[in-house]
Symmetry: none
Subunit: 213 residues, 4 copies
């Protein structure tokens, strides 16, 4: 039945799926997962209630669809590795900029998904296993490497990784809780974070302490 090789058909299906997920994002973000109804989503997507079940097994499956979108975003550490020759300070700023950009450009998706991620043990476990744990491991490895090269102060790698990740996540969370300052000035966050964290992170003279020389 499925014309496996029909690329037009496949494209149409993908488009319809995306259309439904867009609607789900919007409605979940506005009302929360539990208060959102399939009818809300169907109307927002401009399809009939039943149509959604041709693309997703059930309401929770819609959430999994959103999670996948989020994972795709999160799992792209982009240019994490180019740090070799760059100054560590520049690298960090670039990295933070990339992380902040990634979170903030998905603010609506996060608003749709994060509350349920926190509230639903099953979802939470899956997400932690698939996304957070690997990310933390990567971060720890990176810090360990830097420490081995002597470019970093002697900090606890696991906690430091989590503090960095947590700071960004926490700022996003505060915005989701309604903080307008963060919503308006989020582009300054990477720089502010760098200014605050780099002195405590790097062993060698930092921009902030360079006057010591």
């Amino acid at each position: 039945m499925a014309e496996l090789a029909d690329p037009v058909q496949a494209q149409l299906i993908a488009a319809r799926r995306a259309q439904i997920l867009d609607a789900a994002t919007q409605v979940f973000a506005e009302r929360g997962f539990a208060r959102a109804t399939i009818r809300d989503i169907a109307q927002t997507a401009g399809v009939a209630d039943g149509t959604i079940y041709n693309y997703f097994a059930n309401k929770t499956d819609l959430l999994f669809g959103l999670l996948d979108r989020l994972n795709d975003t999160e799992r792209r550490p982009s240019s994490l590795a180019l740090a070799e020759d760059t100054s560590l300070a520049a690298f960090f700023q670039a990295y933070l900029r990339e992380r902040v950009e990634a979170l903030w450009s998905n603010a609506e998706l996060l608003r749709a998904v994060l509350p349920e991620l926190l509230a639903n043990p099953e979802l939470r476990g899956r997400y932690y296993r698939d996304v957070i744990a690997p990310t933390m491991a990567l971060g720890e490895d990176a810090f360990r490497a830097l420490a081995a090269e002597g470019r970093m102060r002697d900090l606890d790698v696991a906690l430091t990784t989590r503090i960095l990740a947590g700071a960004v996540l926490g700022l996003m969370t505060m915005q989701l809780l309604g903080d307008v300052t963060l919503a308006e000035r989020w582009r300054e966050i990477p720089e502010a974070l760098s200014a605050l964290l780099l002195p405590g992170l790097l062993r060698e003279p930092t921009p902030a302490s360079s006057s010591d020389a």
Copy 2:
């Protein structure tokens, strides 16, 4: 007719209320607000369904009850002001310790309340207005005072305040998402945060950089 001031009666009522709120905390934390049923909570509390409605107007009112408990916790900045003569470093560590302690000792309460706080616009607005905004304002004032005394680097007060608060909130959030490291080692968080943040925060030689001399 009713002895308005009957202290025994009042105590019984307060105890029953607390008993129900305890149950609500547990059930909301386990299953999330929406999936929790009044029956769950009643059974956990060991009362009949109807009894809950003698103490709370509806399910949402239970959540407000939990929020009030959280507010009571949050609104005690305890020894924020004793900083005058102490070393800034010591003060910060003490402050962070207090904040972390406050959040972590209410981890279950947060797990019960935070997801709904993020998902429910009305609740969120109320909480932001009543708790977060005032807290941010207090923090900014404190930073501004320190800056005026020349004891702090020249940082953006609003963002720095939010980074500090966000870092702690973010770490809590990561634990709520399932991070075991943070759950096990949360007592080390204040120190790790101090080590990471103080160098970037303080103008004068900090413990961490004093060896430079």
Copy 3:
């Protein structure tokens, strides 16, 4: 246990009963039987919920209490019998006046009781048997007697009785439905009814047709 002979006690009990029935009348009239709650009534009466159950077996029993009050009113045909010598016209006006007065002075009671009387088969049957049927029988007898004396036109006794009773009941019903004219001018009803009905009722020259003489 019951001090059967204690008149003070008995008086107190009767007073409390009346107080509760007064409250029930008011609350049933305002909200209807089903929407009225025991709590409403208790508060209106100034007693505790439980107290009501010391005087009435259950909520329906309160209604029976009101019905009894109504019956007491209805079953007093007062001076129906004085007709012997009076002019029939004067008698009818007096009778109508008495009936209208009886209904209208119990308008609140009727508002409390009539809807439920119409809606509840059991109650309705009981009331019809105890009050309406006997009243109709009395009325038919009276008409039959008048007819035998040749003082009345040759009308169907059963229907005429019901038309008279129905007219008064219907006017009350229309007032209960919100008609302000009837509420304001109810004192004129007996006269208007007489003017309209007597010519059709009486064989001999009536006040309305007295110009014939």
Copy 4:
């Protein structure tokens, strides 16, 4: 998407609506509005509980649906105007016949609706405004016209209108209260009413008083 004008679909929907209203009439009439449950009605209609909510917003809305049916009936004064040349007596009989027929053929509907109409202030107000008040106004106008033509005795127009309407309503009410005589002989009511009322209503010799000549 939905074929807005699909007549088959529309017919099906109207039929289902009618089916539910029929069931509601029956159940409300049997048990009264408050004691009737949605489940009762759904089972009587042969549909699922939820289906009812696809056609009516809530239980009260069902009652509104019944009221609309009643209004449709009530608002058809059919041949009120043909009186011009007919004898007034004939006209009155015709009118009464029509009114009685209208009420009695909707006895079940009235039994379903009238108690709640009396008990529920909001409903009552709406019904009085939409139906009774306009009807009374019409009746008063008609009487006033007749009076102007000198064909009627000099009676109070407002009260007379209400007495006529009230008599019919009251007779219906007495039947609803359980009077078997009225249930069995309702077809004789118009004639009996005419016999009783016309002499008092008309200025000129009526059939009933023709023997005067």
